[in-house]
Structures are given as C-alpha cells and as structure tokens.
C-alpha cells in the first residue's frame, strides 16, 4: 500500500483524509485514487460517511486532516482557487437543488455565463445540447417546480455538465425518486460512464453499481472496509461487515 505517495496519473487522489464534526469523527483516514475515466461506486450503511467523503472531494466540507488532490490541485492548500477547481467537478445531489426562481435553461446557463466561459448565445446553445442529451429539450423554458423528480434530476445532471467538467460526483442521485423514474436517471449516468467520464457515485442501487462500476468501495463507520471489482465485492465479499450489509440490501 502506497499510503503517502500521490499517484500522479490519478484524477483524484485522497490521502489520510479525516473529517470531524465537532468531536464526532466521521471520516477516520481514507486513501483513495481515482484514475482518468474510472467509475467508482461507493456503498455502505447509512451514516457511514459516504456523503461526507464525496463532499470533501470538492471541498463543500472543510477537511480536518489529510489531503485531497484533484487534477493535481491540493484542495487543502489555501492558495488553490477552489472556484476554478470546482468548475471541473460536476456534482449531483440527492434532492436536485435546482434553482426554483430560474427556468430550466437558466439553471444550466448560469455558471457558463457568470464565469464568462461562454457568451449568452453560446451558453444557450450548449444548454440546449445538454438538454437534448438528457431528453428534455422541450422543457427548456419550464420552471423546475413543474417537472417530475426524474426530470429534475436529469436537468441537475445537465447543469452539472455545463462547465464541461472532467469529473462527476453523484450523491444518491436516485434515492429521492419514485421507482418508475429511477431508470431514466440511471440511463443518463450509464451513458456518461460509457463516454469515459471519471465518476464517483454514491448509490444504494447495488445492481447499478455492479453494472457500471470499475471499482466498488464499501464504507463502514468512517473507514474504507473493503474495495475491489464489482465481482469481488458482490460475489466474493471478504469482510463480515460487508457480508452483513449485502445480506440486508440484496
């Protein structure tokens, strides 16, 4: 185990990551590398720290100890411009977090226009292209409130892609959806995986993890308990905690 050396070829490199909320240590020292184009799925029981781990990858949470390096930028370095780094990391939330006071297309155009990456016309063109990709071109001028859950999440994915990020983070993107809408969202993620997007996906959908993941990480109580190929995790679990967990969810 190369616990200290950073893997230069990795898009994401996490070393000794610890995170505490007050006196409650939620992440107790994680080491993870994610290679370019790799799809990593994170599974584990509720409260094990999956979301917290994911939120450390774009520093939505302050990092208590250790380092997180993304695209070669050390996020714990105060000199690193977080906004620039974040432009290259798209994030999709469980509860969509669309901006309710903007139309669908305005949601998608906001970042490219504000950050002067594209002019208005260019941003609109790009947004329409993304909407077509997630199958919602006809909803461009709708308000988020008028969309179904599945549609909202697809818009949220389009919004996260608007800055052309090299990395996508998903935090239980389908957990808040009615069962019949899960499929449409998973399909979009699946397509992204097929296009070679580097992704970290926190999910409760074991079947999906098994299908799209290059690697599965099982987290328990703030540690990485076991990691490996989907085959190794789902069919050949070593740790009793993982075996227990799988017995419950499968």
């Amino acid at each position: 185990m190369s616990a200290t050396a950073t893997d230069k070829s990795a898009k994401i490199s996490v070393r000794g990551l610890k995170k505490s909320f007050g006196s409650n240590e939620v992440l107790k020292g994680l080491d993870v590398d994610v290679a370019e184009g790799e799809v990593v799925c994170v599974i584990g029981p509720s409260g094990s720290g999956k979301s917290t781990f994911l939120r450390c990858l774009n520093k939505l949470e302050d990092i208590t100890a250790g380092t997180v390096t993304v695209n070669g930028f050390d996020l714990t370095d105060a000199k690193v411009d977080l906004n620039t780094v974040r432009q290259n990391i798209g994030m999709v939330f469980q509860h969509f977090n669309l901006f309710p006071h903007m139309s669908v297309i305005q949601n998608i155009m906001l970042a490219p226009v504000e950050l002067k990456k594209l002019d208005k016309a260019g941003a609109r063109e790009k947004a329409m292209e993304l909407l077509r990709r997630v199958g919602l071109a006809e909803k461009a001028d709708a308000r988020p409130a008028s969309l179904s859950g599945g549609q909202k999440q697809r818009v949220a994915i389009a919004r996260a892609l608007a800055m052309n990020p090299g990395i996508m983070l998903f935090d239980e993107a389908t957990s808040a959806l009615d069962p019949e809408m899960v499929g449409e969202v998973l399909q979009v993620i699946r397509d992204l995986a097929a296009e070679g997007m580097t992704m970290v996906v926190v999910t409760h959908e074991m079947g999906f993890a098994r299908e799209v993941a290059d690697r599965v990480i099982f987290m328990d109580a703030g540690y990485i308990c076991e990691e490996g190929t989907p085959e190794a995790i789902f069919s050949n679990a070593q740790q009793p905690r993982l075996q227990e967990f799988l017995a419950k969810v499968l």
């Binding site: 939505l60 906004n83 974040r86 798209g90 939330f93 977090n97 901006f99 970042a111 949220a156």
Partner: protein, 502 residues
Amino acid sequence: MRKLPPIRRRRGGSFAALAAFFTVVIMFFGMGGATALSMPAPASAVSAGVQAADVNGKTFAIATDTTFAPFEFRDGSGELVGIDMDLIRAIAKDQGFEVDIKSLGFDAALQALQSNQVAGVIAGMSITDERKKIFDFSAPYFDSGVQMAVAKNDQDIKSYEGLTGKTVTAKRGSEGETFANSIKDQYGFKVKALADSATMYDDVKAGNSVAVFDDYPVLAYGVSQNNGLKIVTEKEQGSSYGFAVNKGANADLLTAFDAGLANLKANGEYDKILDKYLAKAESTEQGGFFELVKDSFPALMKGLWLTIVATVLSLAVALVLGVLFGFFKVSESKILRGVATTYVAIFRGTPLLVQAFFFYFGLPQMTGQPIDVLTAGVLTLSLNAGAYMTEIVRGGIQSVDPGQLEASRSLGLSYVTSMRRVVVPQAIKIMTPSFINQFVITLKDTSLLAVIGFAELTYQGQQIYASNFRTGETLLIVAALYFIVITALTQLSNVLDRKFNK
C-alpha cells in the same frame, strides 16, 4: 415662566461648564475678536426712537423653540408665528437688521447659542440668575405669572376658596404646579400634574379636574382660541422673559433689541402684538368639522409630507443597514456575527422613544455638536428599523435551503455571485411581506418623533389642537390620513409583490 422639565434643568450644569470652556478657548485663541472679549453691555437705558447703527443691514441667526404657543408656534399654513416671532421681526424692522429664524427646540436653541451658531435666542425664556451666568439678557419683554381657569359653564368656582375638596391640574415641572402646591393645603385641594396645556384643558372640560393653573399668556391664548375655559383669578407674580445672547458676545444686537423694544412699546405696536395673541376673541363660533378639515389641511399636508420623507429616508438607510448586518449575521466570521448581534440587541432592546431622546438631546450634549431634528429622527428610525431589517434579512437568507448555496458553489461560482444570483433572489421573495410590514411600522413610528418636535403629521395635529382645542376631531383627521396613506401603500406593495415575486 416656561416649563423646565428635569432634562432642561440638568442642562444648566453642563451649560455652565461648557460656557467656561468656550470662554477659555476664545481667550486663548482670540477667535471671538475684540467684541467677544469686551464686557457685556448693560442692557437698558436706551431711549425710545434710537437706532443702534452697528446692526444696520446685518443678518442675525436667531434660534427659537419649535412650539410654545402663543410665543412661537405654527399657524394653519405651517408658518412660524407667535409673540416672540412677531416681536423679533418687528424689532428687526425697526432697527434695520435681518433675522434668520431657526426653529430648533428649546434645548437645541440654547445649545446653538452656546456654540455661537446663532446670535441670539428668543424662546419664551425666563430670566433667571442661573442663566444670567451664561447669557446676557435684554430688558424683560414680557411678564408672565400664573392664573387659574375653570370650565366656561362653571358658575360655582370664582376663587381659590371654591376649590376645597376638589382636584385641580397643572403642568408638570411648571411654575403653575409650584404655585398650586404652595396653596393647596391652605385651600384644601389636590393637584394633578399633566404634561401639556391641551391635555390639561381637556381634563378640566371633561370634569376630571375643576380648575387649571397655567402660565397667564398660555392660558389667555387658549381662551382667545375658544378652548372652553374662562379665567377667574388675577395673575400671580411670576417671572419675566428676555431675549438672550451669548455672554460677552453680540452686545450690539442686544442694544438694538432693547432700543427696538422701547420703540415698539412707545408707538403701540407692542400692545398690538400682545393683543393679537392674548385678547379674548370676539366670541367667534367654532366652524364645523369640514371647516376644520379645510383649515388644518395645509398644516397636516406639510406634516404628512415630512412623515413620508422621514419614512422613506429611514427605510432607505435601514435597508442598507439591514442588508449589511443581515449578511454579517449569516457570515462565517464570529466577529462580524458579534457586531451584528450587538447592534440588533441594542436597538431591539431599548424603546424607540428613549433612542429618539438620546439622539436629539443626549448625543449633542455629549459631543457638543447640535443635531437638527430631521437628522435625529431619521437616525433614530433608521437604526431602529435597521435592527428589525437585519433580522428579516437574516431570516430570509437562512430560510433558503442551504442546498441552493451548495449547488451554486459546486458549479464554481463564488460566494458573492452565489448569494447574488441564487440565494438573495429567493430570500427577497420570502422577505417581501416582512418588508412591507416593517414599512408600515416605521411609517407609524414616525409619529413618536413628535415628542422631539419633529413636525410630522402627529405633531402638526398636536399643534392644531394645542391652538384650537378641538382634540378629538383633529385626531380623527390625523388618524384618517395615516389610515389612507398606509392602506394605499400596502395595497401598492402587495401589487408590486405579486407582480415581481410570482
């Protein structure tokens, strides 16, 4: 003698100290020049018909009270009139100088004189030994004294003897109260102290008190305005009013005042001015309600205008304060949060009236810098409303789902941009009803500024019934004006709210 509430009495001490200080400063730096250093000219011994040439063509700033009928008050059209005003203008004309009247309030007038911002003060001010240490006075231009009045239709009480077992009223802290207390045991009556003349007269008319003891000019003026009372006793020996300049300064002006006063007394104009305000009116019947509305309309509109000006200015400043401190409250910095929390605690934790008194009376005393009443009023209201706005802004921002800020930050947008484009637009929508509410509260709170003499709508109403004694009707008109304006503005805000915050 004019009423001296405790706040004015206390002032005597600091005035003396300030005066001493200023004198020393003037002596050291010679700022006052030869005039300031010369001994005060003895006031008097100027024969009639003389004109003091040194003041000719000059303009003097003269400070006065905001209201002390019949010496200075605003008439139906909002013009400053009264015995003092007519007198100083007539003297100025007689002596060939100009006056620039500044209606500052009694305390502020004295303070302005102390700091040489005005040349003189004429404000129904009694000549007292204590004041003579700080100011130079003219010859007395008016002799006051206490009189007793009863309800017009009261046939029983004709003298102090009729008061046995009864209750009378007098103005708190006034010479009238002192006098009433001095004879109450002898005649066996009780004294109830009230705050102002109009209230006392209403108290007598309502039968709660059988008689009122008040300064002779004030009482005579009230009777001349059909206040429903009649005077039944002779004037008790009282104090005299004088025109004041700063000690050792403006001796020419003082000389001119005395010369002019002597001229007016000699040519009968002085008596004309006094009669105008004190003589019993030729029993003119009071007009009807609509006549009252018509007559009071110009003054009330002036008041309403100031009410709106104060409201708009205060809310504009309050909005800035509210946004600033509201953002402090949601910021990550402990210091900024502490600053905002302290600010809100102070202004929500103290009464608005205390704040108004502090900014108008307290602050100038502490800094030596006089403050005009609009500034003091707007300062009070905006700091007060700003505290509530801070809480509205904080509440609005915090009620926006934190996921919104996170989503925006995850896109690489800065904190400021995220606030501006994502959080604040949603917060405004949540805050709008509270803003409209605060707007209405602040508009109504402007009426509290009447106590510091800010001439807004309520104050104008008070001025009107202080001179016509039709309290109920006047207050109805005032209330109706507030109601109309507030209802109209609320409706307008709601329409705008619906339009922009769909």
